[in-house]
C-alpha cells in the first residue's frame, strides 16, 4: 500500500484538485460543509459489476482525504430510475453518477451541476475529445470522459481472396462493396434497430443536429454532413451491398461475422473481446485500419461519442469527485480496474496518451498483426471528435430515429425522408415541451 501511495504521489497527478481538497479538510477555512476532521465521504452510483468496487477500494487505500462508497446498480435503466427517485425525494442523492443518458439530457432535467471550476483545474490530464464531451454550451456539466474512437477492422483474408483494396474513403468503401457483391460477400452489416452507424458517420461528416443560438436550439437533421453520411448508406442499401442482421440474435450475428461473408465493420476497442470469443473460424484473419474518411475532409477525424458521468445537483463535494476522477487517470487506477477473471483492463480513453495500455486491450490471436492493430487503436483515439450534441430531448427522438432508420434500411423509404421525419418529430416534441427552437433552413 505504501508503495502504491508513493507511486501515486510521484505520478504527480491530481495534485491541483487535491490541494484544494486538503486545504478544505485540514484548515477548516473553507465553506465546505464537511470541514470537520476525517475524510470526505462520497457515494458513486454505477452499473460496473465487474470492477466498480475494486477500483473504489484501491482509491480509498491510496489516499486519506476522500472515502468513496460504490453503490452498484443493476443496469443503466435501474440507475436512471433510482436516481430520478432520489432527486425527486431530495435525499440520498449520490455525488457521482455514471452517465445513463447524454449529458444535455442531464442538464435539461436539472440533474447535473456546473463543475467548470473543478474540471478546468485539472484539464491538462485529459485529451481534447474527453474535455469536449464534458461540455454543454461552453460549461462543464460532465466529468471528462473518453470517447471510444472508431476504427475499421477488415477480414483481410476475404479482401485478399477477391483482390480488393482496403478502402480509405467512404467512396472507396462503397466501391469495395460493389466489387465484393458478385462473390456473395457483404461489405458490412447495418442492423435495422441500431442507427448508431448513421450517427457516427454524420458526426464524422461534421453534421450538427443541434446547435445553440443564444436562447434557442437550432435543429438540423438534414445538413450537408448528415446528407453526405446518408448518401453513403443509401448507396449501400439501394445496391444491396450490406446485410441487416440484428444484434438481438447475437449467435447468428457472430456466426455471420465469422463466416467470411461479411468483409468489414467499424468498431471500438471494447467490442474486440466479444469478437474474439465469437470468431472461431476467422481468428487471425483480421486487420485494423483507420476508419474511412470523407474525400473532402481537411484532416482525418474519428467518430466517437460518450455519455459522461456527472455530479448531481445537491452534491456538496464536487472537489472530492474531481479528485477521484483525476486519480482514475493514474497507472495505479488502470491496474485496479483489471478484471480478475479475464485479466482485461479498461482502456483509459480519457487520458492524453493511452498508448502504454493498448497492448492489454488487443485480444490474442485475433489480428494478423497485433502491433499494427494497437497503433491504429491509439491513432483513432488521437483524432476522436468526442462531442456530438444530441439536444435537450434525445430520449424522445432516439426511438423515432430507430423507427425511421429501420424503415430506410429495409428500403421502404429513403434516408433523406427518414431524417426529415425525425426533424419534424424533434420540432413537434420541443414545441410540446415548451423549449425554444428553430429549424434550420
Amino acid at each position: 500500500m505504501m508503495r502504491s501511495r508513493a507511486r501515486w504521489a510521484t505520478a504527480g497527478l491530481a495534485v491541483t484538485a487535491l490541494t484544494g481538497l486538503t486545504a478544505c479538510s485540514s484548515t477548516g477555512a473553507s465553506a465546505g460543509p464537511a470541514e470537520a476532521e476525517g475524510p470526505v465521504t462520497i457515494e458513486i452510483w454505477g452499473w460496473n459489476a465487474e470492477t466498480g468496487e475494486q477500483i473504489v477500494d484501491a482509491f480509498n487505500e491510496a489516499q486519506d482525504d476522500v472515502e468513496v462508497k460504490y453503490v452498484l446498480q443493476a443496469s443503466n435503466v435501474a440507475t436512471q430510475t433510482n436516481f430520478q427517485n432520489a432527486m425527486e425525494a431530495g435525499s440520498g442523492v449520490p455525488c457521482l453518477v455514471q452517465g445513463f443518458a447524454p449529458l444535455t439530457t442531464m442538464v435539461v432535467n436539472g440533474w447535473a451541476q456546473d463543475i467548470t471550476e473543478q474540471v478546468e483545474g485539472s484539464a491538462d490530464l485529459y485529451n481534447e475529445g474527453a474535455l469536449a464531451a464534458a461540455q454543454v454550451d461552453g460549461r462543464y456539466y460532465g466529468l471528462p470522459s473518453g470517447s471510444d474512437g472508431q476504427f475499421y477492422i477488415v477480414n483481410q483474408k476475404t479482401f485478399d481472396k477477391y483482390d480488393v483494396e482496403v478502402p480509405t474513403t467512404w467512396d472507396e468503401f462503397v466501391d469495395a462493396g460493389r466489387e465484393l457483391k458478385p462473390h456473395g460477400v457483404d461489405i458490412t452489416n447495418l442492423a435495422g434497430e441500431d442507427p448508431s452507424s448513421l450517427m457516427n458517420l454524420a458526426q464524422q461528416a461534421g453534421a450538427e443536429w443541434f446547435a445553440i443560438d443564444g436562447d434557442q436550439w437550432v435543429v438540423n437533421f438534414t445538413d450537408d454532413g448528415t446528407l453526405a453520411a446518408a448518401d453513403v448508406f443509401q448507396q449501400l442499401i439501394d445496391e444491396d451491398l450490406v446485410s441487416n442482421q440484428t444484434y438481438m440474435d447475437k449467435p447468428a450475428l457472430l456466426k455471420y461475422f465469422d463466416s467470411g461473408k461479411m468483409a468489414s465493420v467499424t468498431t471500438q476497442w471494447w467490442s474486440l473481446g466479444g469478437y474474439q470469443v465469437g470468431f472461431t473460424d476467422s481468428a487471425g484473419d483480421w486487420s485494423a485500419h483507420p476508419i474511412p474518411q470523407f474525400a473532402d475532409a481537411a484532416a482525418p477525424v474519428t467518430p466517437g461519442r460518450t455519455a459522461p458521468s456527472f455530479v448531481p445537483e445537491g452534491c456538496e463535494e464536487p472537489d472530492a469527485v474531481m479528485a477521484y476522477t483525476d486519480w482514475l487517470t493514474t497507472p495505479e487506477a488502470v491496474e485496479a480496474g483489471r478484471n480478475a477473471e479475464t485479466g482485461a483492463i479498461g482502456f483509459p480513453t480519457q487520458i492524453q496518451d493511452p498508448a502504454p495500455y493498448v497492448e492489454e486491450v488487443i485480444p490474442k490471436d485475433f489480428f494478423a498483426d497485433e502491433k499494427a492493430a494497437g497503433e491504429e487503436i491509439v491513432a483513432a483515439q488521437e483524432t476522436v471528435i468526442g462531442k456530438f450534441e444530441l439536444g435537450p430531448n434525445y430520449d424522445a427522438w432516439f426511438p423515432e430515429l430507430q423507427d425511421q432508420w429501420g424503415k430506410a434500411v429495409a428500403g421502404k423509404i429513403t434516408l433523406e425522408e427518414a431524417m426529415t421525419a425525425v426533424e419534424e418529430f424533434v420540432a413537434s416534441d420541443l414545441e410540446s415541451k415548451g423549449i425554444s427552437y428553430t429549424v434550420a433552413e
Binding site: 442538464v107 435539461v108 436539472g110 454550451d137 442492423a191 435495422g192 434497430e193 445553440i212 436562447d215 434557442q216 436550439w217 442482421q245 440484428t246 444484434y247 438481438m248 440474435d249 449467435p251 447468428a252 456466426k255 455471420y256 435537450p392 430531448n393 430520449d395 424522445a396 432516439f398 426511438p399 423515432e400 430507430q402 423507427d403 432508420w405 429501420g406 424503415k407 434500411v409 429495409a410 421502404k412 416534441d429 420541443l430 410540446s432 415541451k433 415548451g434 423549449i435 425554444s436
Partner: protein
Amino acid sequence: MSVNTQDHHTTAREPVPGSPPGGRARSGSSPRGRTPLWNWRTAQSVKGASLTFPFLAGFALFVLVPVGMALRESVYTTKSTGGLGFGGQTVSFAGLDNFAAGLVDGSFWTGMLRVFLYALVVVPLTQVLSLALALLLDAARRRAAARFRIALLLPYMVPGVVGTMVWIFQYSPTVGPLTPFFEIFGLDVNFFSSSMVWVSMGNLAVWGSLGFTMLILYGALQSVPHEIFEAARLDGASELRIAWSIKVPFVRASLVLTSLLSIIGTLQLFDQPLLFRAVTPETITRDFTPAMMIYDQAFKVGNLNYATALSVILALVVGVASAIIYRFINREEP
C-alpha cells in the same frame, strides 16, 4: 396482472364466513327497539370480514392508490420554462386536455385496432386449444394427466421476456432449428420477416398462455359430477358426445373467465413486440401497441401526464371490452 384479477374473483365469490344470508333477519328477532348495536353476530361478521384485510390493504396500496395518483397526474401538463430548456419546468392544470388529445391520437388508436385484430385470432385460438388439451387430460389416467399438466404449465412459469428471447433464437433464420425444419418440406419460412411477425408473436402468446388456461379448465372439469357421465354412458353417448354436450357446458363459466383474462392480456400486449422490434424494426414501431406507446410517452418522450391519460383510456377500453364480452358470452347461462 392475471393473478390479481383472479384474487379479486375468488374474494368476490366466496361468502364471508360468519355472515350467512339471513343472518340479519335472525338477529332482528329480538324485541323491537332493543337490538344491541354490537351483538355477537355482528362481532363475528366483523371478525370474518377482517380476514379480507390483507387483500384489501394490498389492493388499496397497489391498485387504488396508483390509480388515484395516475388520475391526478393525467389532468396536469408539464412544460419547460422556455429557452434552451435548462431553466426547470412548470406544472399547470390542464383539465381534460390530455384525454381530449388521447381520444384523437391517430397512432394510439391504430395500435388499439392492431391489438384488437390480433386478439380476434389469438384469444379464440388459445381457448379452443386449451379446452381441447383439458378434455384430453380429463380423459387420460390421473397419473399421466398429472405429468402432462406440469409439462404444459412450464411455459407459463417462464417470464415473458425470457420466453420471447428463447423463441427469438428458435426463430432465427441463421442459427435457429425452425428454418431448416421447414426447408425439409420445401418451405422457405423466415419468422423475422415483416409478414410473419404476427404469426411469430401469436405462436409465442399461445405457447405462453396455453398451460395456465388449460389448468383452469381442467380444474373446472374435475368438479363435474361423475354420475352424469355414467348416466350418459348408460344412455349410449360416445366420449366425444359426452365432452361436447356435458363437459363443455359445465366449464362455460371458466371459459368466460379465461377468455376475459386472455383479452385483457392481449390488449395490453407489450414485452413481445418490444423485443421483436429489434428483429423487424421496419414493422414494429415504438407506438406499435397501446402499451408500447404509453411506455414510450412515459419513459422516452418523458410526458408522464399524457402517458397516464392514455393508460386511463386503455383501462377504460379494456373494461368496456370485458363487460361486453362478459354479457355476450354469459347471456344464456342457466
